[in-house]
Amino acid sequence: MNFKLKVWRQSDAAAAGEWRTYGVSEIDSGASFLEMLDILNDRLVVEGERPIAFDYDCREGICGSCALTIDGTPHGPRQVTSCQVFMREFTDGSEIIVEPFRASPFKVLCDLVVDRTPFDRIVEAGGYISVDAGPKPEPNATPISPETQQAAMDAAACIGCGACVAACPNGSAMLFTGAKATHLNVLPQGQPERYDRSRAMVEQMDAEGFGGCTNTGECEAVCPQEISISVIGELYRDYRKSMVHVLRSRRGRMKAQ
C-alpha cells in the first residue's frame, strides 16, 4: 500500500514547527501505524534526514506511551491506542495527517513527542494512599463488594495516554483526573484522604493550565480504555463534598475551660 504522510516536524520545544509531506510505498497492509513510521524513519536515516520522533513502548495497547493525532482524531478514529492502528484501515493512496496531541499544557518536545509530565504531577498531588507499614491486614476485615471493585477497576484502567485532553475542545484533563481520583475514592483504602485528594488533584490540574470541563463527552469517545465520563461526575461530587468538609472543620468547637 502507498500513502502520502503529512507529518508535523519540530526540532525542539522552542522551534516553530512545520508540516512536511513524505511518500511511503509498498507498505504491508498488516503493518501497524508505528511500523509504517519505522519504515519511513529507516529511509530518512539513509537519506540523511533526522528521523521522525514519536513516543512508544509496549506496542500492544497497554502502556499509554504512544500518542499520535491521526487525521485530527487522537489515536485515530477507532478508539484504540495509536499502536493498535493498522495500515489496512486506510485507503490505498490516501493522505494521512499525523500530528502530536494538541493541548497547551502538553508542550511539543520534538516532532510527535509531547511532554505529559503535567499528568504525573496531578497524580503526585493526590493519587496515592498512605498506609502504615506492619503485618498484613486480615483481608476479610475490609470487605469490598464486586460492584465497588468493578467501579475501581474501571477507573484504574486509565493508562494516562492523554487522548482525553487532546480530544477535548477545552483542553480539559477532567477524565484523567476523575479516573485517577475515583479509582482510590471508591475503595476503603482511599477513604482517609478522600477529600484532601480530590481538592489537591483538582488544584494541581488547574495549576497545570488545563481547561474546564463543559460536559461535551468527547474525551470518552477517544479513550482507548473506554473510561466513562461518570468518573468526572464522581470527581465533581467529591470536590463539592471536600469544600463542605473543610467548612465543617472550621466550625467553632466547645472548650472545656
Binding site: 477545552n170 489537591a200 474546564g212 463543559t214 460536559n215 463527552g217 473543610v246
Partner: protein, 267 residues
C-alpha cells in the same frame, strides 16, 4: 526529605485550606475550575427556575382580554402588590429582581473566566473534530450571548418601556403584548431566541446534574430526557405567546386605554 507533617494537614494539624494561608477556602473554590462551574450551575438553576415561573405566568395571556380587565393585567398588578403590607409596595418584585441580577452577573462572569481558560488550554487553530458532542453543547457560548442580548432587549422593551417601536403603556400588559406581536420582526426575534433557549437549557439542565455530581450511569437516561423535556416545554410555552398574538389565536384587547394604545400604532 521527609515531610514534617502528614499530607493534607498543615503544621497545626488542621486541614490544608482551613487556615488563611491560601487566601481562604472560598477563594480556593472560586479559583478552581470546578468551583466556578458549580457557581455557573447554581446561578443557572436560579435563572432556570425563574424561567419556569415566568413561562407559566405568561400563559395567562391566553385567557384573553376578559371584557376590559385581562387576567394577565390582574396578574401583573398582583406581582407588584404581593407581600404587602408586610413588604413595601413592589418589595417582593425588587427582591426577585435583585436575586436574578446577582445570579445573571455570577453566571456570566464565571463563564467568561472559564472560557478564557479553556481557550488558553488549546493551541490556536487546533480545535478537535466533532465526534459525539451535541449541537447544544457546542453552541452554549453562542446561545448564551444571544440570550443575554435578548434579555437586555426584552427588559428595555417590556419592563422599562424604553423601546417604543410599538407603544408600551404601563399596566396594560395584554394590550402591550398584542401591539408588539403584530409586528413580524418581534415575533421572529422572540421565537428564534426561544429556540436558542431550548438548546441552552437542554445542555445546561443536564450539565447541572453532572457538575453537582448528581448524575450516575443508572440515572443518566432519565436526567437526559428530563433536561430535554424541560427545554422543550419551557421554550414552547414562551414561544406560544408571541405566536398566539400574531396568528390571532387570542383576540384584540377591548379596554379603552388598550384601544388607544393599539390605535396609536404608527404602522
Amino acid at each position: 526529605m521527609a515531610d514534617p507533617h502528614p499530607p493534607g494537614l498543615n503544621e497545626e494539624g488542621e486541614l490544608e485550606g482551613s487556615s488563611g494561608r491560601h487566601g481562604g477556602i472560598l477563594r480556593q473554590f472560586w479559583d478552581s475550575t470546578i468551583g466556578k462551574k458549580i457557581v455557573v450551575a447554581v446561578s443557572g438553576s436560579i435563572l432556570g427556575l425563574y424561567l419556569i415561573v415566568h413561562m407559566l405566568g405568561n400563559l395567562k395571556g391566553f385567557q384573553g382580554p376578559g371584557g376590559g380587565e385581562p387576567e394577565i393585567d390582574v396578574y401583573g398588578e398582583w406581582l407588584r402588590e404581593v407581600g404587602s403590607p408586610a413588604l413595601p409596595e413592589q418589595g417582593a418584585l425588587w427582591v426577585v429582581r435583585a436575586i436574578l441580577l446577582l445570579a445573571l452577573v455570577l453566571h456570566v462572569v464565571a463563564i467568561v473566566q472559564l472560557s478564557r481558560r479553556n481557550l488558553a488550554a488549546k493551541p490556536k487553530g487546533h480545535r478537535p473534530p466533532r465526534i459525539q458532542r451535541s449541537l447544544a453543547s457546542r453552541t452554549m457560548l453562542l446561545s448564551g450571548l444571544v440570550l443575554l442580548a435578548f434579555v437586555v432587549f426584552h427588559v428595555l422593551q417590556f419592563t422599562t418601556a424604553t423601546i417604543q417601536t410599538t407603544p408600551i403603556v404601563e399596566g396594560e400588559v395584554y394590550a402591550n403584548l398584542y401591539a408588539a406581536f403584530q409586528e413580524w420582526y418581534f415575533v421572529v426575534f422572540y421565537v428564534v431566541s426561544m429556540g436558542l433557549l431550548a438548546l441552552h437549557l437542554r445542555h445546561g439542565a443536564w450539565s447541572l446534574t453532572q457538575t453537582m455530581g448528581w448524575d450516575k450511569p443508572n440515572r443518566n437516561p432519565t436526567l437526559r430526557r428530563t433536561a430535554t423535556a424541560l427545554a422543550v416545554v419551557v421554550s414552547l410555552g414562551f414561544a406560544a405567546v408571541p405566536l398566539g398574538f400574531w396568528l390571532g389565536i387570542v383576540p384584540e384587547p377591548t379596554s379603552e386605554a388598550a384601544a388607544t394604545a393599539a390605535s396609536g400604532e404608527p404602522r
